[in-house]
């Protein structure tokens, strides 16, 4: 499986964020998108996720499921956690597992892996920022998607949480997955660097 973008151009609010951007990633590889604030890291992830329309250039996934579009094969973990405060931890996760569909794993095991199995009945409103992040990571584990698009995934995670997350990413890569992460800090897994917008 190979994900590649050619000559990507992104315009937001009338301002050109980047132009002529090329990137490529293959199965089992992590791509760390680096760049200063406002250089377009998040915009690149949202272009791949189909949440922004490119002003130019193409993105193509070779060797994926031919029946599905690229966004349908991606997990997008943005700044916002997509959690409903009124629902419990288990209900939030169960909803996304049911809604996203496809191949899925036991929700309780995912929660155990991210260290939230003791809080399944707690409403999400009572979770801390780090716990909310852990719960969104559980979504990535419960529903199988080959491509993970992560936007500063380690923010709000404590040191133990970052180690746990690095382990999860290694497992995903070993299973033939692909990770594209916008980050300032080191990812914690072997990754190739993609620098956008000049020096950081």
């Amino acid at each position: 499986m190979r994900l590649a973008g050619h000559g990507l151009r992104c315009v937001r609010g009338g301002r050109e964020v980047f132009a002529g951007l090329d990137f490529a990633a293959v199965s089992g590889e992590a791509l760390a998108v680096m760049g200063r604030n406002g250089s377009g890291k998040t915009s690149l992830l949202r272009l791949i996720a189909g949440l922004l329309v490119p002003a130019g250039g193409t993105i193509a996934l070779d060797g994926g499921d031919g029946e599905l579009t690229l966004p349908e094969q991606c997990h997008y973990l943005g700044h916002r956690d997509a959690l409903k405060p009124a629902l419990s931890v288990a209900e939030n996760l169960a909803f996304w597992a049911d809604f996203l569909g496809g191949e899925r794993f036991e929700a309780i095991e995912s929660l155990a892996k991210v260290g939230l199995d003791h809080a399944t009945h707690l409403p999400a409103a009572f979770l801390s920022a780090g716990q909310r992040r852990r719960l969104s990571l559980a979504r990535l584990l419960t529903v199988r998607r080959p491509v993970w698009l992560l936007d500063e995934p380690t923010t709000a995670l404590d040191v133990a949480g970052q180690d746990m997350f690095a382990g999860l990413m290694r497992t995903h890569l070993a299973a033939g997955g692909m990770i594209i992460a916008a980050t300032h800090a080191p990812l914690g897994v072997d990754s190739r660097e993609l620098r956008i917008g000049g020096a950081a």
Binding site: A49, P71, R80, D81, A86, D98, F99, G101
Partner: protein, 222 residues
């Protein structure tokens, strides 16, 4: 289908929990209708003549009250991104969300109507007629209102803009809803004609609403 039923169940569950919109709508409806007799005075004949119009206006405003949050809440917490990316067509997801909103916020208004009919001196038949027209007409309010809710997300403006956009669209529903109820109470028109048009309006909005809302959400991607 699993995806859509999961979405409907989630939205209804959120609406019914503490801080959800379902109860607020009914309470607002109750307040508006209870206030009317105090403003109009104790003229029972006048009250029963105005009754259907008051109930319809109350239901219209109450259903608009929570509608602007239909997509805004999902937009703010990032859920809308994932819904847009998913394998479920956005049109169907919009329709499911509107259906859930109607079940949680629209249906309770209809259940409350017989109680409120008493306050407006409406007899059994008249109350039943109003409830029936509300049952046929409120889906149209929800599904056209959904277009406004989607535009509110696209334009990053909530609340008031949504009311300004949606209220003109709901005029036909109001006209035929009240006309059908009045036909039962005072005549001489038949109940069937305005009621059929009301049903037609609902059916049209059921089809057009999800497509228009999805188009607006797609256009507003950022």
């Amino acid at each position: 289908m699993t995806a859509l039923s999961a979405l409907i169940r989630r939205d209804i569950r959120i609406a019914l929990r503490v801080g959800g919109g379902a109860l607020i709508g009914v309470l607002f409806f109750l307040t508006v209708v209870v206030l009317m007799p105090f403003a109009i005075g104790p003229d029972l004949a006048l009250l029963s003549r105005l009754g259907p119009a008051i109930l319809w206006l109350g239901a219209l405003l109450a259903s608009l009250l929570t509608l602007d949050r239909l997509f805004m809440a999902d937009h703010e917490d990032g859920s809308l991104d994932l819904i847009t990316m998913s394998r479920t067509p956005l049109e169907l997801a919009c329709a499911a969300k509107a259906l859930a909103h109607w079940l949680a916020a629209g249906l309770p208004l209809i259940v409350a109507t017989p109680v409120l009919g008493l306050l407006l001196n409406l007899d059994m038949v008249a109350t039943a007629a109003v409830a029936l027209t509300l049952l046929a007409g409120t889906p149209a309010l929800t599904f056209t209102g959904m277009i406004g809710a989607a535009l509110a997300v696209t334009l990053h403006r909530g609340g008031l803009l949504m009311a300004v956009l949606v209220l003109p669209l709901s005029i036909p529903v109001l006209i035929f809803g009240v006309a059908a109820s009045q036909a039962v109470i005072v005549g001489p028109m038949t109940f069937g004609a305005p009621f059929s048009i009301l049903c037609a309006l609902s059916l049209v909005s059921l089809v057009v609403g999800p497509f228009a809302a999805a188009a607006s959400l797609r256009h507003g991607l950022d």
